[in-house]
Symmetry: C2
Subunit: 267 residues, 2 copies
DNA sequence: AAGGATTTGTTCGTATGTATC
DNA sequence: GGATACATACGAACAAATCCT
């Protein structure tokens, strides 16, 4: 009470507030970065109560003795890292982490691999068109550049959450009408069967990661700054002929890729 | 250029400047995002001359008819994406892209896989210690929790640029002194041989991606907001016994992971 | 070698838009 | 409909790194 009365008498100077939290100016480290580090530490120590809700920006700004902008910069950095999630009008929350495992190997079948992890998984055809092969697609499918190819844009969802978005190319001279079979069956494997392809293998997969662009944000319902894993792959039939060249963008905060047998957990 | 001449004659009102560049206010898309998109497009069209240097923030702000802060926000987003690189006192530059291919498979050997892509590759031991196994490490290595393990922290560089940083755990009762052999030979494979392990396989690899934390930034010399690929893997000897459990953080803007045969290029 | 000019980085203050409760 | 809280944008000032004369 004495304390509060004291505060009531005069406002604490900025320098005093800074000393309280260990934030230092002109230290070579930007204030927002110091604050971001403190918040990250603080989360483990229970900052952001039972509901994961962080104190308001104003409250944090006062606590650290800085302007609200400086706190915002720190929060933005943590949102980028995936540690926090900010919701306009509601507040800022600690983002809990967990990921689906997406197996990758010669016999990769997207749906089968996820079947035992989620209740409702489906792959939806967003768009298709017949067009001339780009240099990349032609090389991968072993076609002449400019040869006709079928392009499919598909979206994969698990339990209602978007998981990945794929752009696939097929040799149009061999798989004309493929999209119809895919639409009816909802399965790439089943559609192949209609063209006499009883089995197929994944010959190669190249994995990289980048920030989501505006198209990714929209389709995968991600927050700006989110990360997508990009898997570029080639499927071949039993005779080793390329049948599908695809680029899949995967929401990195929802999925991890698994190469080889059942994998150990994270360190 | 027409644009600049126009500006020379008389100052353009803000609304006019916006019309010139296609930037629209109250369009539901933030100005800084529109500007970021335009800069990204512009790079392909030669924005950022021969030396890759972008116009100054002030120049861009005038061109787009916005405040310097708005341009800075756009530039920061592109720096996050790895498209640009900003240097205090010098300018902002287009960041050229190219990635090493890092093969992943049962017979993965980091050094060998990269040998034909870079001139100077080396793996350096940063730190080691003997400690009690965490739950994860114990489970992966099939040891009792708390059993003694050897932890190695290594840094891998190619042509002088940091590529990846790994934390590996070994059964201390079997591989005591492993770090000495690794230090002398600079090779994990060679160190294994000293313990009678003539061959080993990668049983599984789990791949995810996240934003680099401060430790990653420091060791891999990354910019804040950069992405790291995280590969958690388990190596086993010829008898199938686990011998090494590792978590590797890989600079995503420098490396892509390759599963299966030689992969096609990006879409 | 010194010092001013240039350019990016940080901070504060303020105003307004927009989404949520 | 009003209050609250996050999002965007602008202006000013100064710091820090680099460049140039």
């Amino acid at each position: 009470m004495i304390f509060l009365a004291f505060l009531h008498d005069r406002r604490m100077t900025r320098a005093e507030a800074l000393n309280q939290t260990g934030i230092e100016r002109r230290s070579g480290v930007a204030l927002w970065r110091q604050i971001a580090d403190q918040i990250r530490q603080g989360i483990a120590a229970g900052l952001g109560g039972n509901d994961g809700r962080l104190p308001t920006e104003m409250a944090l700004a006062e606590r650290f003795g800085v302007n609200r902008h400086t706190v915002r910069t720190a929060i933005q950095a943590l949102v980028q890292e995936g540690v926090l999630r900010a919701e306009q009008g509601r507040g800022t929350f600690v983002q809990p982490q967990r990921r689906l495992a997406y197996p990758i190997g010669p016999r990769t079948r997207f749906s089968e691999g996820l079947a035992d992890q989620v209740n409702a998984h489906r792959s939806r055809l967003l768009e298709h068109s017949y067009e001339e092969a780009s240099a990349d697609a032609a090389a991968a499918l072993e076609l002449e550049p400019g040869a006709p190819v079928l392009r499919l844009e598909t979206l994969s969802e698990a339990d209602g959450r978007p998981i990945s978005r794929a752009r696939s190319y097929f040799d149009a001279s061999r798989f004309s009408g493929f999209e119809g079979h895919f639409l009816r069956t909802g399965s790439i494997t089943a559609a192949y069967r209609a063209f006499g392809v009883e089995d197929y293998l994944r010959r190669s997969t190249t994995i990289s990661a980048r920030h989501a662009d505006s198209s990714d944000l929209e389709h995968l319902k991600l927050s700006p700054g989110a990360i997508v894993l990009v898997a570029v792959g080639l499927n071949v039939d039993r005779e080793g002929r390329p049948i599908q060249f695809s680029q899949t963008r995967i929401a990195a905060d929802r999925v991890e890729l698994q190469v080889g047998g059942s994998a150990p957990a994270n360190v």
